[in-house]
Structures are given as structure tokens and as C-alpha cells.
């Protein structure tokens, strides 16, 4: 780390992507629909990791080379590992999450259209395996969310088009 104060920057997390930031930086992901934004953080160390999860289960992947950032189970494994490497024990982590909407009421036999709910369930299950407590969440509905986490305050800002902006 640099030992001078640097200006706050916003680290962006894309779709099926993840990253870790230290205060004063904040971390953001945009346009979550059925995807789930998961934040793992520790406010004493002022550090947070965020993943933008697209699909619930890496075992469903039909890919030859798996993109581990895309799935709830593997993305959370990687986030925990990255935070562990930065000296944060898993038992000191807390979680917040948002997203998992169903944007369209599509009638289909295909389960993929109800992926939002399954993504949320998969994230919660994985966090339970790690014994990471979920401090707050804002999931479901039929609208998009852009989320921003500040590792200093532990606040997750959620912006929507129709429901305004709030913190959890």
C-alpha cells in the first residue's frame, strides 16, 4: 500500500466478474437483474470484495474452460480466498447481497428464466457453508439494481429506476 492519502476511486465490477478494494475506495456493480451482487467485508480492516454472480452452480456449466467468476459457488470461493490472502480470516467476514430479480414473467419449462431466485439461494447456501453471516439483503422483485459498497462504513447503496435509492 502507498502510505499517502489517495483520492477515492470507484472500482467497477463487470458481469461475471469480481474484485477487492480497501478504503477509501468503493466498489460498484451496475445493472443487476437476475444476477446477484455479493459483498464480503470487514469494516475494521476497511476491506471489501464484491462478485457479480450470473449463474448459481458451476456444475451446470457446459464450458470446456470454466469461468469461475460466473457462478455463485466458485465466485464466493475465490472472494474468500482473496480476502484470506489479504490477512482477513473467514470468521471475521460479513456479507451483504442484492439482486436476484425476475425481469420478465416468461412462461417456460426452462428453469433458466427463474434464475434470479436460484442465484440468491445458491449464494446463501455458499455463505452458510463458510459460516459468513448475512447482515442485510435486498433481493427479488422485477427491477434492476446498481449497487455500491463503501468498506469504511459497511454501507451498501442500492440504486433503482423506480424504487429510488436506499442503503442496507
Amino acid at each position: 500500500m502507498n502510505n499517502y492519502q489517495h483520492e477515492q476511486s470507484i472500482v467497477k465490477v463487470g458481469i461475471a466478474d469480481l474484485n477487492v478494494v480497501n478504503a477509501p475506495d468503493i466498489i460498484r456493480t451496475s445493472g443487476l437483474g437476475s444476477c446477484v451482487g455479493v459483498v464480503l467485508y470487514n469494516t475494521h480492516k476497511e476491506i471489501a470484495g464484491m462478485a457479480h454472480v450470473m449463474l448459481p452452480d458451476s456444475n451446470l456449466g457446459k464450458q470446456a474452460s470454466l469461468n469461475r467468476y460466473k457462478y455463485a459457488d466458485t465466485a464466493i470461493d475465490i472472494l474468500v480466498e482473496m480476502l484470506n490472502k489479504k490477512g482477513i480470516r473467514t470468521s471475521l467476514l460479513k456479507a451483504k447481497l442484492a439482486g436476484g430479480a425476475q425481469m420478465f414473467q416468461i412462461n417456460t419449462a426452462n428453469d433458466i428464466m427463474r434464475i434470479g431466485k436460484r442465484n440468491v439461494e445458491a449464494v446463501l447456501q455458499k455463505l452458510e457453508e463458510y459460516n459468513i453471516p448475512v447482515e442485510s439483503s435486498d433481493v427479488g422483485g422485477n427491477y434492476g439494481r446498481t449497487i455500491e459498497f463503501d468498506p469504511k462504513t459497511g454501507q451498501l447503496k442500492i440504486r433503482t429506476i423506480t424504487k429510488g435509492e436506499h442503503f442496507i
Binding site: I15, A16, S30, S34, M54, L55, Q63, A101, I161
Partner: protein, 211 residues
């Protein structure tokens, strides 16, 4: 099938499919608003998921999206995308009504919403029927699903099935332009996202499955 291994003949065929569909849709659109409408020559975009959102102004961008599933032998998705202003202008010209608004937290007019869905039906229907005729593969649009929200949230739905197999999408992207009037122009975007397995079927139907 790997997208990156498409031959130039196959890519050209996809572009031609988009072209034929767009031509048919433009004719329908002209009838709808009684104006000449052009569709640009489609582009074939092979893009990472983040870049799909960038095609319409980024994941945060507020858009009006109408989604159709394609039923039949070559499944996939079709999106019609408009800005708020474009959607308002289109419906205004269809209905001759004033005060059309698609602002999501404002007062949305039921009639305006159904007029836009109907326009979507006509456009997607004529687009896909041209594709069906050309390829001899049956493709039917579902009912329209309309949402006014963030581009990221709307477009991810069309990427889910692809994302089980790939980390990028192949999109046949067509811009719709009204040629007569630049201020009150009808502009929009039509995206065709075939499911991964549909490419093989389309290429087989056209006799260009080989390299």
C-alpha cells in the same frame, strides 16, 4: 461449436439473414407509421457480456426493451430496444396521441404500452418470418415482454442460456432509422441472439455447415 471458428462465409450468411429480416421489418414499420423507414446493414457482434451492455450505453442506461423468445427449430431471443424518447415518438406517430410517456416512475399510459407492444409484435414477427422463409426453419416469436429499466438487467435475460456455454455472445445488430425526419425520427435497435445450438441448424439449413 466455437463462435470464433465461424468461417467468413458463415458470418456473411448471418449478416444476410439479418439483412433480409431487417428489410421485411422496415416495410412493416413503414406501414405502421406511414413513413419511409430504413434499417442499416446489420453488424455481427461477437462480444463479451459487459460489451453487450456497452452497445446500448452501458449497464446503467435506462432503456425500453421488448423481449421475444424465438420458438421453433432454432431457438433464441429477439430484443427491440429504444430510448424513452424513441419509444415515445414511435407511439405518438402510431396513435397520434400527445402526452405519451414511458418514464418508469411517472404515469405510464396503458394504451401507449400496448401500442408499443403491438409495434414490437409486428416488427419481430416480420423479422422472424423473413428469417424463416430464407432458412426454411420454423421460427415463431413469443408474446412480447416489455420492461423499462436498466440495460444490464434487461439484456442479461437474453444472455443466460448462452452463458451456460460461452463467455461471449454473438449478436446480429440492426439499427432502425426513419429517413424523413431527423427531429422526430423513429430510431431503435433490433438484436437477434440465437441460442448456441441454433447456429449449427441455421448453417445446415443453408448448406454451409462445413468450414
Amino acid at each position: 461449436m466455437n463462435y470464433q471458428q465461424f468461417s467468413s462465409i458463415q458470418l456473411d450468411a448471418l449478416k444476410e439473414i439479418g439483412n433480409i429480416g431487417a428489410g421485411n421489418a422496415a416495410t412493416s414499420m413503414s406501414g405502421l407509421i406511414q413513413k419511409k423507414v430504413d434499417m442499416e446493414v446489420p453488424s455481427i457482434e461477437i462480444v463479451a457480456f459487459d460489451d453487450v451492455m456497452e452497445m446500448v450505453g452501458g449497464p446503467d442506461q435506462l432503456i425500453v426493451g421488448i423481449l421475444f423468445q424465438i420458438h421453433g427449430k432454432a431457438p433464441g431471443m429477439v430484443y427491440l430496444l429504444f430510448t424513452l424518447e424513441e419509444a415515445e415518438s414511435l407511439v405518438k406517430q402510431m396513435t397520434n396521441m400527445d402526452g405519451i410517456s414511458f418514464t418508469p416512475d411517472g404515469e405510464q399510459n396503458e394504451l401507449a404500452l400496448s401500442a408499443l407492444q403491438e409495434a414490437g409484435n409486428i416488427l419481430a414477427g416480420s423479422y422472424l418470418s423473413a428469417l424463416s422463409d430464407f432458412t426454411n426453419i420454423n421460427m415463431q416469436p413469443s408474446v412480447p415482454h416489455l420492461s423499462v429499466d436498466m440495460a444490464g438487467a434487461i439484456l442479461t435475460v437474453g444472455l443466460l442460456q448462452i452463458s451456460e456455454v460461452y463467455d461471449f455472445a454473438i449478436i446480429i445488430n440492426t439499427k432502425i432509422n426513419d429517413t424523413e425526419d431527423n427531429n422526430q425520427g423513429i430510431n431503435g435497435q433490433l438484436l437477434l441472439l440465437p441460442s448456441p445450438e441454433s447456429f449449427t441448424k441455421i448453417f445446415q439449413a443453408l448448406g454451409i455447415q462445413g468450414k
